[in-house]
Symmetry: C2
Subunit: 360 residues, 2 copies
């Protein structure tokens, strides 16, 4: 989707993927190769002004090592290194004075046990690296669960134990920020998870003006805390008392910002491209009153076959996005539907209806 936004502005795009399985096969000059191989990366980087990554796991550090001084890499490998490791990420946020749930980086089981006791025997254990969408996380309410979590999730440097936050709502904020320091902030959205995966994103979020401003401020501070350049997704918890904590950062256009394609003057994808190219940033504000995005997740495993597209397109006003992934897995994000409307209730009903028709 970033590539589509770039092409619209007349910006030439090439992509490097480890396998030909992805949605980029149809867009721009698609290179397939082992992106951890410096020779492959050097060949790819030759005629690039800017290299950006769509995953925090892409080897930005190799791109930085092999690219000429005329080629920039954003976000930087230093930013990605901080964000990839949940311990380093939380410390960077905490050091910047941003509220995060209490946490301990536990290098031994004894430390994990102590943290579990300190945080009231209800905690979340997280792998330091590689956890997402419910993978690599465990809610721990007993010593038995703690032992299991340690066995499943601890790496050489241990794991993260975080106090369980009794949130009433999950929010997210997208920030686009350039090397120059210029930034724009998208409206705060409400995100609903089902089985640890984002199901629905609603904008505007049903929060007070004050909470909105606090969330925006925390998102901008987070972007600065990790020296972000590009689009940053900031996930937050809102407590009953209105208190906010930053939960996690995603250094890229983010699922909770997909609605911006239809609903905002400038989409998160276009602003990602603009920010990494140090072009002026576009207006992130809503051009409609309300929007809801519903994710379309895989319902089977194997080669993709899309059923129900016709029925989904028959839902008036539904913008249907299918990512063109070649293979489907259960619960894998395969597409999404956005509906804009004068109110969130109408948008929600239509988006759920359209997304519900699609089976991949």
């Amino acid at each position: 989707m970033s590539a589509l936004a770039a092409i619209r502005m007349g910006i030439r795009i090439k992509t490097l993927s480890p396998t030909a399985s992805g949605p980029v096969a149809n867009i721009g000059e698609a290179c397939i190769g082992d992106w951890n191989d410096p020779l492959v990366m050097a060949e790819f980087a030759k005629d690039c002004d800017v290299i950006t990554v769509e995953s925090e796991w892409a080897p930005a550090e190799i791109a930085e090592q092999v690219a000429s001084s005329n080629t920039q890499v954003w976000p930087s490998s230093a930013t990605l290194r901080t964000i990839r490791h949940k311990g380093r990420q939380k410390k960077a946020l905490q050091d910047a004075g941003i509220a995060v749930p209490s946490y301990t980086c536990c290098s031994s089981f004894a430390e994990a046990e102590q943290a579990w006791l300190d945080y009231g025997q209800k905690v979340v254990a997280k792998k330091f690296e590689g956890s997402y969408d419910g993978y690599g996380n465990a809610t721990v309410r007993s010593m038995a669960e703690l032992k299991q979590a340690w066995a499943d999730l601890a790496a050489d440097d241990g794991l993260l134990i975080e106090s369980f936050v009794p949130f009433k709502r999950e929010l997210a904020v997208m920030v686009a920020i350039s090397e120059s320091g210029d930034f724009v902030v998208y409206p705060v959205v409400d995100t609903e998870q089902q089985n640890h995966r984002c199901h629905a994103v609603t904008v505007p979020a049903p929060i007070s003006t004050r909470t909105h401003q606090e969330a925006v401020d925390m998102a901008v501070a987070s972007a600065r805390a990790v020296s972000m350049v590009g689009m940053l997704g900031v996930e937050l918890f809102e407590l009953e008392n209105g208190e906010l904590f930053v939960n996690e950062l995603a250094p890229r256009p983010h699922n909770t910002g997909h609605y911006t394609i239809e609903a905002c003057h400038t989409s998160q994808f276009e602003n990602h491209i603009r920010s990494v190219l140090n072009l002026p940033l576009g207006d992130p504000s809503l051009q409609v009153s309300a929007a809801v995005m519903i994710n379309v997740l895989g319902k089977r495993s194997g080669p993709v076959q899309t059923d129900g597209l016709k029925q989904a397109l028959a839902v008036s006003g539904a913008a249907v996005h299918i990512y063109g992934k070649k293979d489907v897995r259960e619960h894998r994000k395969m597409g999404h539907v956005t509906v804009t409307s004068s109110d969130v209730e109408t948008a929600r009903a239509l988006a759920e209806q359209a997304a519900g028709h699609i089976h991949l």
Copy 2:
């Protein structure tokens, strides 16, 4: 832009162009070849469910001849044959009872002279085939101009003489229509020409509800009159007394519908794809109060170099489209800018400002 809309829905795209000069080089599987060569077309058509054309001059008749019965071609060559020839096009509209300016297909200069006299010695002479954007047209106010027009524009079958219509406004309507007969109609837009080329498109057009309905009815009747399948652009003249005439048809997504990408629930490009695939058509209505599109025309000749993109992107809310054409000619359409807003005045000012910055 149609290809980008298709990719978003997970629909596989390939393109056939006579040269590699075009914007499609970046999108989908791009085939370069002589599309008038049946062997080239047959090879291209092999794995296509549907072939559509982005120009009325593309050889749909060859595609129909060589494609298997599993491959549909929309719009059909019969539709294109009618539309390509201004005499046949006008006759088809007239036969369907649609108001068009008085015209005569003149096969001899004597006939042209008679028509010129009949229409009050002020007429427009048009080449039957190949005229667009002011090319191949001439306003004729004298016998000398008539002689010149005949010399310049007459083909083997002569030329078209049309009475000059003292219009107060030019309007356009986009219609998407499927083989099944399902159709949707976009809002009527106001179009302003400069030097015979579309400069600005404004929506909503400043017309009465009654005129709006009449324009919509004429557009739908026009689509039926030429058995259109796909997106049809219908250009109209509005007279001082509110009378409407159909001026010209364009059997494809049309410059006057570019604004639909940002301003409507479903863009003209997506509805073109949906209509040729016989998928349910999307909601054509505005999701904003107002939008203005300004064309970006070539200001020099030679290889493209885009200046002023940075300044254009700095205009808040401007959606900048650069088509990625390799070569620029003076007055060639190279891109456009759309701004959506609560009112047309604001949208117009910002769109003009952004478009004015771009030099190609």
